[in-house]
Symmetry: C2
């Protein structure tokens, strides 16, 4: 079997973020679940947008953000996700390609517009997302070229995709292709409400198909229906080769065959916007893993990337993660 | 004649900015005039965009930015400018309306896309603009409702509009309408290269039609074809009731019937992006003027608004200018 030519191939929702500051009262008034990803249809999307103040548009999408992080570390990544041939689709494609991420999924020429996620950033720096999936929801198995999956040392899959039946098939197929090629499969639980919606299937995936699992505390405890983080840690240890579990300012816990590794959070100078924290943790971790680092060092790279992204507005790195990580990597 | 119901009605190019950090070498390699507004066609726009790194999209347009600043002071503004009925047009309209700026120009249903300006921010925090005018260039006299012009205490016009023959007619007509209603007409020279392109017409405008002129040092010296700022100041004094001339970190010089007022620059903690500095100076000045402040205080409000906007990326205020200006206004 040939060596992989990409560190990571990610499959996810191709989304442009619409970032707007918002008071807690607005989140409440709009009936949104604070801190969560709320799926909205076109009509709701219009209603919510009209209630928001001025916004900034910036490429997002969880797995695509992770690709951007890997590129910022100097790694190689490919992304699969569906946009439409509209202005926001062009923005999304540009922003990935301009940093060297391979992105070849054909843009839809009809149907819904490119997905957007309105992200309400409350004064506590937390984000509440309202996502209109649009064209992203039309991802099909045919959009995922098997040779691209085989090219990646790790195939990284977004739990958010589970909300779309066609995308689900694409994911199952990609995981099988990756394993058949001797590659590893990584998965992120994405969001606690997403876990609630798909718990049984996620459990089956985690037990059977996933080598590397990413989750935050709320997600992993939702998966195992427990309030006790340690109970969830013990459960996941038996299921995945590696589980990287993030806990915000308390850092992360990573389990592997070597046991349980506690990773401290990287100190930050100011907390501005938590959007992308989990995505960038995954970027650092996967970059380390595909470059031969030991699991605790992978965790440190994850913590470092997460710290960078929460110090500014927007879900992707603004400074070179390769340079920030020089003390660890050199 | 009835009292005005809006502080300012502005006419300008309706533009979404595409903000990207860039090295000086890239500005040079693309053949752009650093610090200037470079007009580009659709093809050049595509070429330049492909050469840029990841960007952030944010509503812009010089006169529209000024409207946003006036709203941030708590003032009232209306904006006239043409977008298309596309995603960026929707973004532009949303961002103005969500802060209470009256914006009723109908979106074009065919023709070129909404204007975008790629703004390359070099490490010295200066910006070089590449503007594809698109739908904005299709502004026509019919787009400017005379009753809207009559509603504004000041009609504010953008020099950039002069690159478009149809818009030029709209401007001349608006200035006449404003004067007939006993209102004042303000004008910004916009850009030194814009002045070079239209010097004769700008001189005629300034001498005959403009009550309040905004310009920076490069623009006013270009207008009067002199290297000597003081010569330009003396020249403009004879032409306009008020001339507000900005000089970056050296503050501003404002001339009126009372003589020459020197306004110091507001201290800043960090210089991030000069985009919008002139637009926000005009916002502060016009807010002051339409609220009965003396000219030196108007200049202080302008300096304060300019200082806020250059401390962050993007051309519009991120903090309440009303609150920042409380020591002056209360």
């Amino acid at each position: 079997m040939s060596d992989p030519t990409l560190d990571v191939v990610a499959i996810g929702n191709a989304i442009v973020d619409v970032l707007a500051p918002a008071e807690d009262a607005l989140v409440q008034r709009l009936g949104l679940e604070k801190g969560a990803m709320n799926l909205v249809d076109a009509e709701e999307s219009t209603r919510i947008y009209a209630a928001l103040g001025p916004a900034v548009e910036q490429s997002g999408g969880s797995a695509a953000n992770t690709c951007a992080g890997i590129a910022s570390f100097g790694g190689t990544a490919g992304f699969v996700g569906r946009v439409r041939d509209d202005q926001l689709g062009e923005v999304f494609a540009h922003d990935l390609r301009s940093i060297g991420v391979r992105f070849e999924t054909r843009a839809a020429t009809s149907g819904a517009a490119t997905a957007r996620s309105m992200i309400l950033i409350t004064p506590d720096a937390h984000r509440t997302m309202c996502t209109f999936l649009g064209a992203a929801a039309e991802l099909e198995p045919d959009d995922v070229p098997p040779e691209l999956i085989r090219a990646g040392a790790v195939t990284y899959l977004e739990g958010y995709l589970w909300d779309q039946p066609a995308a689900k098939a694409a994911i199952r197929h990609s995981a099988a292709t990756a394993h058949a090629a001797g590659r590893r499969v990584a998965f992120t639980l994405s969001d606690p409400f997403c876990v609630e919606r798909h718990r049984e299937e996620f459990l089956a995936l985690v037990e059977g198909d996933i080598d590397i699992l990413f989750a935050n505390e709320a997600e992993i405890t939702a998966l195992y229906e427990t309030d006790d983080f340690d109970v969830a840690v013990a459960a996941v240890q038996g299921h995945c080769e590696i589980a990287a579990l993030t806990r915000s300012e308390r850092g992360a816990v990573v389990t592997d065959a070597g046991g349980v590794h506690v990773i401290p959070a990287e100190p930050i100078s100011r907390l501005v916007d938590t959007t992308g924290a989990g995505d960038q943790f995954a970027a650092g971790f996967l970059y380390g893993l595909t470059h031969g680092l030991a699991v605790p060092e992978c965790g440190r790279l994850g913590a470092l990337a997460a710290a960078e992204v929460i110090e500014h507005v927007g879900p992707r790195p603004e400074t070179s993660l390769r340079e920030l990580a020089a003390p660890i990597l050199d």
